[in-house]
Symmetry: C2
Subunit: 250 residues, 2 copies
């Protein structure tokens, strides 16, 4: 969607969300959304799996614009990727504890009646993957030891698709793939979420006209010293200007 | 100080501080102190090395009660522990970047004129130690690989004392000691800080009367699911009642 004006808000002053209680994540997510509404957005994408897992329903009820999370797109991509009907999802403690992914995956599998005999979902919290990615330790012996400890037992479970249920995990995808083996397809909800956002805007007649130049404006609640490095590592290109902003009362 | 009423505030909704910018840490520390003043405290101990490193001067200027950090007590304990005058300090990114420990250690060493020939301080950020301790991985292969990567090079530096410059690191002390070797004394600023707090209260006539029963009241900005586990692991006993409170606008 190169024509769309995109406003990004990263709550760097209060991250990570994945270790916090559901109550606090809901409060922070509401404040973050309020900030984005103040910038005049026409759609809110909750691009954090922990916030999507526990706060999406609240946001959908409270906000005057459509809200899209990453859980259902991720679940759809995962169910489309499996042949055996044995899948796994990994995420932060908050995401896995909430159980929203398991629920969404089962719902999605249930829609494909007859395609699977018995459908199995294994959910596992892998909290150290976030600080490992933040440290830039994506392939070294520490990252490998952590991946073996978290994911080694998955080999015996004979899953054929694994959902990377946290924004940071795709950075660790090469290592994760080596540990779980080439027979396991890794699924990232990002592309499916972007496609869903495009459909949603088009369906409501909200898409930008193709003549518009588009833009990306990045706001952060803290200008953390390593955001530039990590942000461009994710985006694959420089971030451009980054502005400091305070969400709610954060 | 069993007779003292102690009010503890843990900013669990916004931790960790050690990855944030100095500006944001100062703002959060001021809000945390304001909360404690509202509970009527007579002394504020900044028991976080990152906040002590960047916010102590501001707090000392702003607060109407004495303020004590962990940096100077830690530096004193470290300099008392070394024989060779070659020491090291480890901490979060924010703590090491601020350079407050190096400064305090050099000041302290400078006071002991003639005791050391050349005095050497090596400072190293070891950010993954906090999430490892939070995960309870204190001795396993992941923790060991991280410790070797961070501290292995210290062996060649021939230091004889190492300051654990972060609240979480004492939990990893057995592993750290194995990696750096028995010739390196590990120094924790907690005891020296407590002793300094006692001296400071006595010196100003602020100590509780010995007849008073004392108390510990724990406030947290988020009732995180694993606080009970981690808190009692630190304290060595159950925490008692834990109350939810909001600091500043957090």
């Amino acid at each position: 969607m190169p024509a769309e004006p995109i406003v990004y808000f990263g709550d760097t002053a209060r991250l990570p969300y994945g270790t916090k209680s559901a109550e606090t994540i809901r409060r922070f997510a509401a404040e973050d959304a309020e900030f984005l509404l103040g910038r005049g957005v026409k759609l809110v994408v909750v691009a954090c799996h922990s916030a999507s897992s526990v706060a999406l329903l609240d946001l959908a009820r409270q906000l005057p614009v459509p809200v899209l999370g990453v859980i259902e797109p991720g679940a759809r991509a995962l169910v489309a990727a499996t042949r055996s009907g044995r899948v796994a999802v990994i995420g932060t403690s908050a995401t896995i504890r909430a159980g929203a992914y398991e629920q969404a995956i089962r719902n999605e599998a249930g829609r494909r009646v007859g395609q699977f005999g018995r459908f199995e979902v294994i959910a596992r919290a892998t909290p150290l993957f976030v600080p490992l990615a933040e440290e830039g330790w994506l392939e070294n012996d520490v990252a490998e030891a952590a991946a073996l400890r978290y994911l080694g037992p998955l080999a015996a479970e004979r899953v054929d698709a694994l959902l990377l249920g946290c924004t940071h995990y795709p950075l660790l995808a090469p290592l994760i793939s080596r540990v779980v083996g080439p027979q396991v397809r890794l699924v990232d909800s990002a592309e499916e979420t972007a496609a869903e956002a495009e459909r949603l805007l088009a369906g409501r007649g909200l898409s930008a006209t193709t003549a518009s130049p588009g833009s990306l404006t990045v706001y952060l609640s803290d200008l953390t010293p390593n955001f530039e490095t990590i942000g461009s590592r994710f985006l694959g290109e420089p971030l451009g200007d980054v502005l400091r902003a305070t969400a709610g009362k954060g």
